[in-house]
Subunit: 138 residues, 3 copies
Amino acid sequence: MISYRKELWFNTSQRRELINITPQIQQEIQNSGIKEGLVLVNAMHITASVFINDDESGLHQDFEKWLEHLAPEKPYNQYKHNTYEDNADAHLKRSIMGREVVVAITQGQLDFGPWEQIFYGEFDGKRKKRVLVKIIGE
Amino acid sequence: MISYRKELWFNTSQRRELINITPQIQQEIQNSGIKEGLVLVNAMHITASVFINDDESGLHQDFEKWLEHLAPEKPYNQYKHNTYEDNADAHLKRSIMGREVVVAITQGQLDFGPWEQIFYGEFDGKRKKRVLVKIIGE
Amino acid sequence: MISYRKELWFNTSQRRELINITPQIQQEIQNSGIKEGLVLVNAMHITASVFINDDESGLHQDFEKWLEHLAPEKPYNQYKHNTYEDNADAHLKRSIMGREVVVAITQGQLDFGPWEQIFYGEFDGKRKKRVLVKIIGE
């Protein structure tokens, strides 16, 4: 069994942003030399997500509106977490979208259906944050 | 380390349906010959889920009502994604229910608690769609 | 490849409770002797969660209020599942918070960002329930 580890860094210009990281993950799989196994991709911060969905801008606007409806950013004082911080909503949004994905690696490639793409979901950005890529296999 | 891969195909008669796939996953574990490891089971489509919960019909009706409340199918024009398609709600419902499960394999069996069952959750059906089963271990 | 398995038992005094299990998971990684790999931590019951977020009491109160808003416990008769049971809301809450986490192990440690902590989320407690820890690696 081989294992491989890499951190990816992000610093978004907006509080909330969705970034397609599929090419970077595929590149790390090639760097690892692993042909058959699993790749874990997870946010290392608790106000961000890694998830798989469609790279379609209309859908991304729908996600923004929907997450704001389910866990609104404001008013900040509706959340007990918001004493020294203002990001309680980001913790909740990330709970819906998920912390991590585990993806199969087959013949050295992400083993994906036709429209699957991996996204970094930032819900409290404008600062440096990390994603962990851990690959195990052979 | 051994790895094993299998695709399962589904074509539901209704737009939304929950299908218990536990026996099929257990069969694939036997086919793989792997006794100790992990099995990843994921939807290969972004409007479907794989999740673990109870095989109880009342609960399944509760899921349907609850998901329709949190991410209603209609009116279609409430979603920007729905220009050529009408399935934005399915992308959102799948985000709540999750894309994948990772389950431990112990002594050649799904290592489950008393009521755990694996479901394929279809939210935009009436067409052929796939689930990926990837097993690694020894 | 080495594999390691352990069950952790919980019996909460309240219906809903969040318990930080990070030290116990780190201890099991040491017990396993595995230095590089993946650890799967999952609820073995379908009315409980394992998730990763912040160990901050204000946020935990926000989670309680938010989950009660999205999937209220009462009135019990709003759910078809609640015939012999009263825990349909717990099945829904666990669907939002997730069944499991998969965490990278690097140099014998949980490979975590600065604030990541693993929680057992109980949504139908006051009885003995289990979490499974399965570790694979080398």
